[in-house]
Amino acid sequence: MSRKETPFFVGYLPLPRGLGGFVALVSVALVALFAAAALLIGGTQDAPQDAAFRFDYGRQTVTGVVELTPYPLLRVTEGNDLIPPGKTLMMTAAGKSGVDMRAMGLEGKLAQVSGVVLERGTIDMIQLRGGRRGIQAAEGEAPAMQTEPLGRWRLAGEICDGKCLYGAMRPGRGLAHKACANLCIIGDVPPVFVTTQPVEGQDFMLITGPDGTRLPKEAYDFVGQFVTLEGDLERRGDVLVLRLDTPTIALVDG
């Protein structure tokens, strides 16, 4: 009785005859399968926008008036080539933390800030250096700063954390970034609302709770998802600030 030899693979022995074609076929099929999967899945993702830490600009030091929205803004009065006077900067600290405590005693006063810029289009944020080197009171009288009310708006878009959106992460928005964004916002990094269409010439705006409060916890579940909401809008320098009317926030269907 003849007995057909069945090739049997043993890891530490040479590949048996008869299995070479099978292994080659499976190898090519696997590479092709994963390449196709990578292309298909990658094709469904939005391209991250041109946003990044601008370490190439070097450390920036400017002076301005600190405003608490409650998230701190710097209305620049003495700038430099990169950050001209009249610009408004959101401020953050290293990691997933804001600078609220450091800016609190400087509200309405002149302060000198120093750090590295994050840039996304025309929108800037500055990550301050540690301690007093990052933010300290400056000499001089703080000029009065105007806040321009823009009325009540209904908007569609996405709540993000400003730091990741402005280039600390790529992509710094979307559902996959939700947990990171929430941790940043819990750490007092300024939250930002990205609108579907420009509002008063801006696609981004700082978003706060109503009446000068922080973004309410009820909004955390909606971060990173597409929502509609209503709120009062105001302009502070070249930054818009949206005061969220919390009960109006809702997920967009589809």
Binding site: Q146, P149, W153, A156, N182, Y220
Partner: protein, 125 residues
């Protein structure tokens, strides 16, 4: 309580319970179910992270070994008869998860235009 807080609270309690189980098991239980561990202590801290993660399994195995319900021959029997099931189930599950994720993904609502509901107030600060 937000979803994030609920997840964080659940993970925290899982870790707390796991830490308690680790202390009790490594300080008391392991000597009674593994004679090789008797008098050996340096390796025990290395087991803490694993016990914190899978403490229900640790408790179950501790119960089985301490009560005599364990059948070592069964425990060491290879589960090869289940490999085929998982070989088919895993790629199907991966594809299903990806497809489901894409299916429920929201579309950027660029059809919703900003709408001013009321004009700005006259006064400014």
């Amino acid at each position: 309580m937000t979803t994030a807080e609920a997840i964080l609270t659940a993970v925290t309690w899982w870790g707390v319970i796991g830490g308690i189980v680790a202390v009790v098991f490594l300080g008391y239980g392991i000597d009674r179910i593994d004679e090789d561990a008797d008098g050996a202590f340096v390796f025990r801290p290395l087991l803490v992270p694993g016990i914190v993660v899978i403490w229900p399994l640790v408790l179950w195995r501790w119960y089985c070994l301490a009560s005599g319900r364990d059948h070592w021959a069964h425990r060491h029997r290879p589960r090869r008869h289940r490999h085929r099931i998982f070989a088919y189930a895993m790629p199907i599950a991966i594809v299903a998860v990806i497809v489901a994720g894409l299916a429920v993904r929201q579309s950027w609502p660029d059809h919703i235009a900003p709408e001013r509901l009321s004009p700005p107030a006259e006064d400014s600060q």
